[in-house]
């Protein structure tokens, strides 16, 4: 009983610390990406690598007076404002876990994914990825509702019906076609907590799971209960399914992580910062603006 109370108290402290560490600055919307943390990081890194548009300079004649330069913005001003930090009191532990995951990737996951990609053609692997994405529909649908993003929830419901019925159980993704254009919502329970004002707290790099925070760790637990396969069969079937999903997803993005490592002075810091920025962007934009298809359906002619 004491240990239970201690855990609850610790959790409350963590959440409170999270609120205290809630950053106030966020940047532009992130591109849609899959839910697993590693993929989120890669998506965030890709967004970071794209050059930010330079501020427009007014075409005013410069006379040489200081006043003439007042309208010209400093290109680095915006970049400084977008700098986001997160408390990292567990850095030694996190670095150790980062290296563990790094070795796990290079020694196990990548070779397995490479062998798998040689045995299974890419269209089939994309189909498997589509299937798992369709299967996790409840997570995106429920969290869209919890965030009062009703257009997003409608989009997700439409995607699920269309992809299940006309996409052969979700193996194909007709809902993302140019004509239907119902885009996937990038939402999860951790994001929902963030939308309700729960701070992210400090940085945790979990073994196997990757970058996270106390808020997002709690969110992951919530998401697990919305994942349908947990209710079918014993735990090892679900676990095996998740491992296969990860191997399949990795086979579709071999090289992304390697590129990020090569481009970073300190990959650990790069992963941490990218993760934090990406999560903040998700929270600010609630999974992104309503999909064009949904907007079109809701708009009056």
């Amino acid at each position: 009983m004491k240990s239970y109370l201690f855990a609850v108290t610790l959790f409350c402290v963590v959440l409170a610390a999270g609120c205290a560490h809630k950053p106030s600055v966020v940047s532009d919307p992130a591109p849609s990406a899959a839910a697993p943390p590693a993929q989120q990081v890669m998506a965030a890194l890709k967004a970071e690598q794209s050059p930010a548009p330079l501020p427009e300079v007014s075409a005013k004649t410069v006379s040489g007076n200081l006043d003439d330069y007042q309208d010209i913005e400093d290109p680095d001003k915006g970049r400084e404002a977008e700098k986001i930090t997160i408390a990292d009191p567990l850095e030694p532990f996190n670095r150790a876990m980062y290296h563990f995951n790094d070795k796990l990737y290079f020694w196990v996951l990548k070779p397995v994914a490479q062998g798998y990609s040689k045995a299974v053609p890419e269209p089939a692997r994309v189909g498997v990825s589509n299937f798992y994405t369709n299967l996790s529909f409840p997570i995106r649908f429920v969290n869209s509702l919890l965030q009062a993003n009703f257009a997003g929830a409608a989009s997700e419901l439409g995607r699920f019906i269309i992809n299940t019925v006309w996409g052969i159980g979700g193996l194909l993704d007709p809902a993302s076609s140019k004509e239907i254009n119902l885009s996937k919502q990038t939402v999860d329970f951790g994001q929902t907590l963030g939308v309700y004002g729960v701070g992210q707290g400090f940085y945790i790099h979990w073994p196997l799971l990757g970058p996270s925070s106390p808020r997002d760790t709690l969110g992951t637990v919530g998401d697990v209960f919305l994942y349908p396969s947990i209710y079918f069969g014993p735990w090892y079937v679900w676990a095996g399914s998740r491992v296969y999903e990860r191997v399949n997803d990795t086979s579709l993005q071999i090289g992304d992580y390697e590129s990020m490592k090569e481009a970073s002075i300190d990959p650990y810091v790069a992963v941490r910062d990218a993760y934090v920025q990406y999560r903040l962007k998700m929270i600010k934009h609630k999974g992104g603006p309503p999909p064009a298809g949904v907007s079109g359906l809701l708009e009056k002619d």
Partner: protein, 262 residues
């Protein structure tokens, strides 16, 4: 090039009309021209079909199947199409348990069981004679993976009985030709004759006097092998199409499907 295609289609039609495959006549045939995009590609569909037939050995029985199915097909440049369906079907055989003597009474008259898997495979070819008119041929077969079974209780000469009847290895095969006309708004109207063969093995658990279908294992076959079909295939929006089709061979059957072309 067109002459060669026409020759291939004529030979295909002759083969289809003269050789019996190992499959059944349930499910729609669809428009003669594949519903894929002009450049070809995948198409999927979801539909409902109500199939009625008359089966016979010594007696005639009306059969009714209600099917829901999912379809996946691949069209080759709007001229050739291969497709497969997987679905669930119910089966009713009216008066299968109706006694033929007054000494026998039964708790019910009709054989009925639901939700059995079936699969359909089909192929079709289309030859456009005019931008708005063309002719096509198809062959299609269906096989039921599971047997249908139903029980009946009754009294025969004062003695109670229970008997289980199984409908096993139900399959059918159809082949035919279709004529298609395209009217404004991209709507396709189609009509044509077909022939088909269907059979199922009847397997009773006991021989009950007064119940015709319990006198040993027998084969039920369709009563009429020729029929006609007609339908409409209309574009909806965003790549979806609606198909409504009916066919007649002894009994009227019909259904509807919504397809999507990639």
């Amino acid at each position: 090039m067109h002459t060669k295609t026409l020759k291939v289609m004529v030979i295909s039609i002759v083969i289809m009309l003269t050789i019996q495959g190992t499959a059944a006549a349930s499910g729609p045939f669809g428009p003669p021209q594949p519903v894929s995009r002009p450049a070809g590609g995948l198409h999927t569909g979801f539909g409902y079909w109500l199939q009625e037939d008359k089966f016979k050995n010594n007696e005639e029985y009306i059969s009714r199947q209600q099917q829901i199915y999912s379809e996946l097909g691949y069209g080759f440049q709007k001229n050739w199409d291969l497709y497969a369906r997987v679905g669930l079907s119910g089966q009713k055989l009216f008066d299968a348990f109706s006694p033929t003597t007054t000494a026998t009474t039964t708790s019910k008259n009709d054989f009925s069981e639901n939700w059995k898997f079936f699969s359909t495979l089909g192929a079709k070819g289309f030859y456009p004679l005019h931008p708005a008119f063309g002719i096509g041929a198809f062959v299609q077969g269906t096989y039921y993976f599971s047997d249908f079974t139903d029980n009946v209780t009754g009294i025969q000469s004062g003695a109670p009985f229970t008997v289980e009847l199984g409908l096993k290895n139900l399959w059918d095969v159809s082949a035919g030709i279709g004529f298609q006309a395209t009217i404004p708004w991209g709507i396709n109207l189609y009509i044509g004759p077909y022939l088909y063969y269907a059979e199922a093995k009847v397997s009773p658990s006991a021989n009950i006097t007064g119940l015709a279908l319990t006198s040993g294992e027998t084969i039920l076959r369709n009563n009429t092998v020729f029929g006609g079909f007609a339908g409409i295939d209309a574009p909806l929006s965003k790549g979806f199409r609606l198909q409504i089709e009916g066919k007649y061979a002894d009994r009227l059957s019909g259904g509807a499907a919504v397809t999507y072309s990639y």
